[in-house]
């Protein structure tokens, strides 16, 4: 099981590969859509890659609740626990 910090840096790598954004711009308080400008197709790609990387399942109906990077980190952390 990964710590929240490990999840955040793992997620930042996934976002970087998908969008080209620098990993240090992927902070817990950033909104995927408003701050990071990630469209729905990219968001789904990030979710698929996160599921694979962290060994969790993030159902489609939960994805819309993941507004910020912090929301996603908390969700993954809880799902792993």
């Amino acid at each position: 099981m990964a710590s929240e910090q490990e999840i955040l840096s793992g997620l930042a790598e996934i976002v970087n590969e998908e969008t080209g954004l620098p990993t240090d711009s992927v902070q817990a308080d950033k909104s995927f859509t408003d701050d990071l400008d990630i469209d729905s197709l990219s968001m789904m790609t990030i979710v698929v890659n996160a599921e694979e990387k962290f060994g969790v399942r993030i159902p489609d109906e939960d994805v819309k609740n993941l507004r910020t990077v912090g929301d996603a980190v908390a969700y993954i952390s809880q799902a792993q626990g």
Partner: protein, 416 residues
Amino acid sequence: MTATARRVVVTGMGATTPLGGDVRSTWEGALAGRSGARPFSASWTQEYDLPVTFGAQAAVPAEDVLERREIKRLDPSQQFAVIAAREAWADAGTPEVDPLRLASVVATGIGGIWTLLTAYDTLREKGARRVLPLTVPMLMGNGPTAAISLEFTARAGAHTPVSACASGAEALAYGADMIRTGRADIVIAGGTEAAIHPLPIASFAAMHALSRRNEDPARASRPFDTQRDGFVLGEGAGIVVLESEEHARARGARVHAELLSAGLSADAHHVAAPEPEGAGVARAVRDALRSADLTPADLHHVNAHATSTPAGDVAEDKGLRLALGDAVDGVAVSATKSMTGHLLGAAGAVESILTVRALQERTAPPTINVDDLDPDVSLDVVRKDARPLNGTGRLVGLNNAFGFGGHNISLVFASV
């Protein structure tokens, strides 16, 4: 073509091929008679016990040119197209153009086959949830033209003619039509292919279309030679910037050549075999010359389709003689697939670029590996070394491209 029809010129060229990562290195490689064929490094050659273990891979991998993010979001066929389009656009002087007057016509013969088959592997091994959301935009045949339309904001249209190995040439023909009929002032046109994957190799091998000279890849592609036994699968892209002559003149653009005309025909003979007497080829060549108000005697150079298959090369020989008559004897014929291999849907575009370069340099590139010219071939094949083109003043060159399905396309270029 009416007297008032707009003239179409080539103002930019870009390529990534088995001979080099740009037009300059590709042309230099062709002039020097270098082969781009080599053994596959991938482990799947052994894994699947493929009967063909070599090909002509891109000299510069896309991974060395594009950002990692672009590699992940674009199918290899899109990657090659984007690389060549960026070179062509820069070569054209990065034109200022109204997006509504700019179009993209980029073809592929096979499409995003790497993406399709990799996604199928993922589906079978990991299930539907692991299939990535960008799978469809990456595998669709119009993916390359869509990527280029997006990157260069081309809003006059984005098109994808598909005619197997004639696709790249058909894209140039379509793009020129868009300019002549007033739909666009500039068209980014060309072809791309990235099908060096075990499935297409197994499939082409199953129809005995590929050379099996595994022990000597550099000598495997030998158009018009008696010992030819099939083509060598290549990959890459060729993209040109086509522009109306008045638009190019108004912005002071450098013009590489004029695209005078295109001739298109269909064999309706067999899905894969060429019509043996070359009748369909001859109709395409004749139509192209007629559209340009030229006679066979006006022609100096042909970049032949000549893939190195036993049947195809002879059919093209007959078709050219049928169309040009005795005038064919004065024409220097080059088969550059002897060096590049066969780039399928990119072939007609890459070879159009080589045709333009030949006219600019007034030099026909060589056809390598013709140790023993097939006695059934009567063309004046430029063998071994490059040859200066006969003629003073304007030079005219023709590029042939044919595809499974019976497609025949001839493009006529003139030096400026």
